[in-house]
Symmetry: C2
Subunit: 310 residues, 2 copies
């Protein structure tokens, strides 16, 4: 049948309610037009902003995307990858769950599910990774506080279990060291990653004897929660205690006080990850290297000179 004829028939068929069966087509062609995206939690605005740029990029190529949270549970992540394999998905973009072994990713690739990583790396997986330069980013925040005159600076939130966590902590430690400033072990409060947890960390922070005059926070959510907690205790964030965030969510600019934070290139990460996957799908060679997006410091009102208390 000539193409023109086929098109005419299809047009007519559509007009009278014909529904194209993608399962059947996919069975024959082994291309499904489906891309999986799995992150820790889509409710987290950091991922939500990444997802939005992935969405607009994939839309353009008429790929359907399936979203899933793994909540850092390896089992959930595996179930999702299984589902993608069973559906014959064309590829997956993932922010790997804590503890993801490289074998999981290699297995997916070997079964025809090319992967691209975002936000976190999995050593030796041999796939492209797109993330911010975290050590550099917390370095920016820490140096900013140091230049304002702060000497006792805390680091609140995050975990050593992810490459991101280790890198951000590194950046803080290096900046302190470079400035010749000492650190107390209890100035680091690991763990918090949400607004709620940041809020709760405030009392722990304020309860420290001679507590630091400034805090470098894991992300904007923790920073905003911490500021709320500080305000609740009757102190003024940005005046009594300087606070920096990380990510520069839309929310950072309208927090009270407006949050000094590190822009983390979410849109850029999403866009480039989607592009890389699409390139892979179209058979182009994509280098499996790590691409670091360079963060930028956005100074607002949550940081200022230290107020020495008597």
């Amino acid at each position: 049948m000539a193409d023109a004829t086929r098109d005419r028939i299809k047009d007519h068929a559509r007009a009278i309610g014909y529904i194209y069966n993608r399962r059947a087509a996919s069975l024959r062609t082994s291309r499904s037009g489906i891309v999986g995206v799995v992150v820790h939690d889509i409710m987290n605005p950091f991922f939500a902003e990444i997802l939005r740029s992935i969405e607009s990029e994939l839309d353009r190529s008429r790929q359907t995307f399936i979203l899933s949270n793994h909540y850092d549970q390896l089992e959930k992540q595996r179930t999702f990858i299984d589902t993608l394999l069973q559906l014959g998905a064309d590829g997956v973009i993932m922010s790997p769950a804590i503890g993801t072994p490289k074998e999981d990713i290699v297995m997916a690739e070997e079964n025809g599910l090319p992967a691209v990583l975002i936000a976190r790396n999995v050593e030796g997986a041999g796939v492209p990774v797109f993330r911010g330069d975290d050590a550099y980013g917390t370095g920016l925040a820490t140096n900013h506080l140091i230049s304002l005159g702060h000497k006792r600076i805390a680091m609140i939130g995050g975990t050593d279990q992810t490459s991101t966590g280790r890198d951000r902590y590194q950046g803080y430690v290096r900046a302190m060291d470079a400035a010749g400033l000492g650190m107390e072990p209890h100035w680091r409060i690991p763990g918090p990653r949400t607004k709620q947890a940041g809020f709760e960390a405030a009392s722990q922070f304020l309860a420290m004897k001679d507590h630091p005059t400034a805090a470098v926070c894991w992300n904007d959510l923790v920073a905003i929660g911490l500021m709320n907690g500080i305000a609740r205790a009757g102190l003024a964030p940005g005046v009594d205690i300087s606070v920096t965030g990380y990510d520069d969510l839309e929310e950072a600019a309208i927090a009270t006080p407006a949050l000094t934070t590190v822009w983390n290139g979410q849109r850029e990460v999403g866009r480039r990850a989607a592009r890389a996957l699409l390139d892979k799908l179209s058979g182009q060679a994509v280098s499996p290297s790590q691409e670091l997006i360079r963060p930028e410091l956005h100074v607002r009102q949550s940081t200022g000179k230290p107020v020495e208390r008597q």
Copy 2:
């Protein structure tokens, strides 16, 4: 082949890396194990909380779900429904885009894609709807402010283009009328639905001559944005101006001041919508009626007695 034999083979097959092809199975059985979920914006924490309970409900029945935003664009919603039909999805849970004609839903149902609505109604669609009792909810908030002594109360955010918008406005108007309080047209600032927009509405609100002493907000996001804007202008939200939210997001409790708001039963809406859809899929009769979840007022620190200014 006996079932036992088949199972043994399958077990072995899986062990050596066999991947079940769901497309093929679905082609034969016309069940795909896929459920679509489409809402205005998954980044909105209100929907995110609903999605979470849908997710946990569907997980239990081993249904995969595909998520999509329609951003209130009918075209995006139609494309998504088309995709679901082409993939042979088993059903769809949707918060319909503004202006969704009942024909769109009827068409989906006729093509074997049963639908359940959440948050918004589409008159005459003949499918189950799960939502909060919005008029009752804003009534609760408005009456609370009235009982504190407020007489000039604004309503900020929302739109008349959705049933939810009309109902929430109705609830406010009725409560004011019932208390014998007059309303000025400009006390209503329609539109805002985000934190950013609530923040921006603050200046418009404060610029009103004899501005109201309290504001009933469309949702928690608008309320928190508004409070930030009020604080930025040097006034104290909760003292100088009372503010109520709607939804009772996790964030409401840790806002500064903690937000008085209306709990909207997100988890309940999600859970019941998912259940109803699963019931439909298993062939049970599900009544196509509207189920209203009864909201509750949660009083916190963002509301207080009016401060009369000279």
